[in-house]
Amino acid sequence: MADKTAYERVKAARRPEKISTAELINHLTSGFFEQHGDRLEADDPAIIGGIGLLNGKPITVVGIQKGADTDENIARHFGSPTPEGYRKALRLMKSAEKFHRPILALVNTPGAWPDVESEYHGQGSAVAQNILKGMQLKVPYITIIVGEGGSGGALALACGDRVFMFEDSIYSVLSPEGYASIMWKDAAKVEESAEELKLTPEALLADGIIDKIIHEYQPGDDLSELRDFLDQEFSQLAKLPINDLVERRNQRYRNF
């Protein structure tokens, strides 16, 4: 897998056949109860959130879900959350904190949804609140970047204690297409952009941005190994005194 070029990795991360966030949620947890709405305005289908049992213990999951076909993609706006989506995630994270549930965030987004209405509803503010709260949550918080991890829209769900990436995933300050058009005024230079952005899991692990690469799972695969791994990670983090947990999380980002 590591012999793929950066741009091949971009394409692999965007494959519609990849295992979906919904399947990961349903097979990693049992008895998943989905919760809708931000209690302010709307329910954003780009984010699936709720409570499930991980090896018998309750966790809160928030995950960004792309559509499987055109209709679903339009409804979920291609996995780009609106402010309402981020506020739903924030509401569920606060609820998780209240009930001492660890948080698992699954990220697969090209970025926050860029439209006029999202601007009117405070996209910047919504992302900012998630980051601010994320840094202070008094429960273990783990993120897996499943496919695309695009800029602030990804970071909004990725400032936890651990950040992992699937083999076929990417994480960058903006898309290679956006980078190409800003740096060279030429959107066609995506391959060079992908290289320069150092957006592969290997490059990001070497740079200390992420903590581990998780091997790629296909739809229908048995997820018990991943489930046990997350169970272990959450158990370890949950043993830390709360102040230490938050302090270590802050230190993780303080070093950047």
């Binding site: 926050a112 006029v116 999202s118 900012a128 609140q129 202070q136 602030g152 970071l155 300050v173 150092k198």
Partner: protein, 281 residues
Amino acid sequence: MLRSRFKMPSHEELVKRMDAIPDHILRECPICDATFFSLRAGSTKTCPNCGYGFRITAKRRAKITFDSFEEIDKQMTIPDRFTDEKYLTKAKKAKKVTGINESVLTGIGTLDKQRVGVGIMDPFFVMGSLGSATGEKITRLFEEATRKKLPVIMFTASGGARMQEGIHSLMQMAKVSGAVAEHSRAGLFYVVVLCDPTTGGVTASFAMDGDVILAEPHALVGFAGRRVIEQTIMQKPPKDFQSAETVMAHGFIDAIVPRLQMKATLSRLISLHTKENVYGR
């Protein structure tokens, strides 16, 4: 009369004379299109017609806003690991233009004898983008303010993330937010002044974290840029969709304050949040 001694110049002649005046003496306001002599904008660089505050360097802003200002982390600049020549050349030019070594000027200032932590982003330093050292300086400012129990005033002006520093730029959003949270937990006051332009990753982090959020008139404030919206989802945004006035109407700004009243307003807000004489104490 006098008139007889002077021949009135024709319109064409007048236009020619206007052309002969160097650009920097006549200015056109990008907001109201009024044309006026630079001098009339005064030391605060404000449009005499509509009150728009022209983009100014961080150093000038420090001078027109605070009674005194003592810079901290003055030497901090782009880390050695970034070696791209084009980028470093750009940064070198930016240092010359702005007189600072990164896109934010930080320090301790005084406003009517009240001490405050101050951060001022400079839109002329690589578009005020969020570099690693920018994030580090702002983080240290909040840490210092937390230690000294000082409020923080942050003037934002930024094109967002610094592309040349890639993912490290993105990580600054989390790093600064950690320090903002710590400052807030200590019960200290944080006021943001959104200046033209505040966009992208800066809007999506510390620019929207203030206890009070002010803006300068007509400042552009948003997350996604107009071009990104047009090219990604083929939607054509209305003209003023990201003006401070629009953002305020949607509930994200406490007040819009003209530059000439900024100092007095900030001083008043600091005083309101640091009174010793409070209920229940």
